[in-house]
Symmetry: C2
Subunit: 346 residues, 2 copies
Amino acid sequence: MLQYKRSTIKEVAQVAGVSTMTVSRVINGRPDVAPQTRQRVRQVIQQLGYQPSALARSLIQQRSYTLGVVVAGLKYLGPSRTLNGIAAKAETMGYSLLLKELPHFDTRDITPIFQSLLARHVDGIIWAVPQIGDNHAWLQGHCTEQPVPMVFLTMESWPELPVVAVDNYLGGRLATRHLLEQGYRRIGHLAGPQEWWEARQRLAGWQAALQEAGLPALDTQWVEGNWSSSSGAQAILQLFSQYPEMEAVFVANDQMALSALQAAHRRGRQVPQDLGVIGFDGMPEAAYFWPPLTTVAQDQQALGSLAVQQLVDLIEAHQAGQSLDITGPVLLEPGLVIRESTRRLS
Amino acid sequence: MLQYKRSTIKEVAQVAGVSTMTVSRVINGRPDVAPQTRQRVRQVIQQLGYQPSALARSLIQQRSYTLGVVVAGLKYLGPSRTLNGIAAKAETMGYSLLLKELPHFDTRDITPIFQSLLARHVDGIIWAVPQIGDNHAWLQGHCTEQPVPMVFLTMESWPELPVVAVDNYLGGRLATRHLLEQGYRRIGHLAGPQEWWEARQRLAGWQAALQEAGLPALDTQWVEGNWSSSSGAQAILQLFSQYPEMEAVFVANDQMALSALQAAHRRGRQVPQDLGVIGFDGMPEAAYFWPPLTTVAQDQQALGSLAVQQLVDLIEAHQAGQSLDITGPVLLEPGLVIRESTRRLS
DNA sequence: CTGAAAGCGCTAACAC
DNA sequence: GTGTTAGCGCTTTCAG
């Protein structure tokens, strides 16, 4: 299982008394080898524990069966679940993964990242870094001169670019409509940092749902957090003061919703009677918040899986000299998970 | 920034009017090149956007500056934080990462994983898969015949093997001693699955602390969960019934502690007055549980970082033909984070 | 200081 | 069916 010393194709050939070419043919399952020979070569391979060098292969075939994955914020739940999906799918499809993590979400100097990946001849790149501020600005002139196929995760739709993302706008609408259906009318929003595209989409979904219902969505009705639980506590208090008549709140992620629940509790506001609360993400722990949190669940593993699928398709086309048409972004639909925090008992 | 077509060292040499050897010397910063020539070559490299092929280099130098990382359970907090630490440190030290995720924690057939990594000539491997059942059984005969240096994370100490882990035994003792200091005496334990080495260590720490205090640690005083919040709720109820006089409980992770808090709440038991609760992990959200959860924090990023450091040391020694002595496992000390869930008001 | 030759481990393209 | 030649992109070795 664990061979101490790598053996080469040459050694196999020598021991088997054939040329390296024949060994190569056996390895690659080519048909034009005599059964006798094939048998003998196989045996020697087994005996020597020979494993062909993917490096040498990549070099000559100009194809590495390796994907570059660029992520940021691995210590957070979302990105790591996405990576989880990517890893599983890549394995299935026979690709290895070269992983790079950006030091910050808004890392600007991405040149070394690219160089490192390209130097290792990756067949394609998955850019799994959420769009924040203009951290995707480098894309400006470079769309058509990509050295290898790329797929982008969780960013604004962009002409000609293969984008895969969760439909955050839809998620925001789902959340808000659910609150409306429960009979809540004065609905606030505890938003994510508005630098984030995802946060803006969720806000827009909230606004749209309120407007569709003929209700106002004023600036006093929402405040901005930074995704963290600690920011959520502060933000909800501000919301209480600037929108005192609020009956329910759509919180842009579950972490902030957690601390919002705690703050409401401290204020003596009963959830869901006095205050409906709905989160976003679908973290498993949300079922054990107090009260259990209704939330909009997104399947980030599926997101990663889809990205790999898309990228491999692009690579195949690229290899065949064709160019796959990008017909708009792939949007994943999030889904409601209804629990007690919005179940109005009245 | 994004070069469409890779240029080769040959092309650079041609344009600069020198041999490839000279270009190579310039790339590698060798001193024996005339300043004039160096200048010219640099310019051509710039102009062509030339990037040396790490693949070709790896092939000839028999060194890839790539580490294999094998993980499992990326969708959970712990493993991904560890990977976070690994990625950051590897980048700093000039290594790339080839990532493999095992489909399950107890994947037995690791041969294809190894083959894939070795085929790509990784310089070393970080085995970041927690020890569960005998999922490390394959190690038995293979310690001394490792093809490349390896470092193991989160497993039992093993002679001659470089192991890096959090001291879970210490963590368990810390947690329990803290409860004792708060005046709790009848202390239960909601353990993790005993197949896991980490879970057993935490249990052992709990037992040791109780025994040191001259208190019993009977089998009726602890139950086993499976790390998930849903299991925590069930387990704490069982604990209530089989150890009704329990005054405090050490829960083996924060997820289960969360649902334990909820269950206690539903039962009408006040935390921390009627029941002290302490968790393990240090997830940021624990500060916003109700009440805020005291916990034993482990620095999993540091764990990853240390592993890389250790592995690179081993690789350097390996390259130099030496063999670094392994002097027992590297144990990281976890630390208490004290919050309201154990702050007895009496 | 610079270059020519050889080769890392493998396979494409051709011969026989 | 099988072997030979050449070469992927680079660096080592040695000659000049």
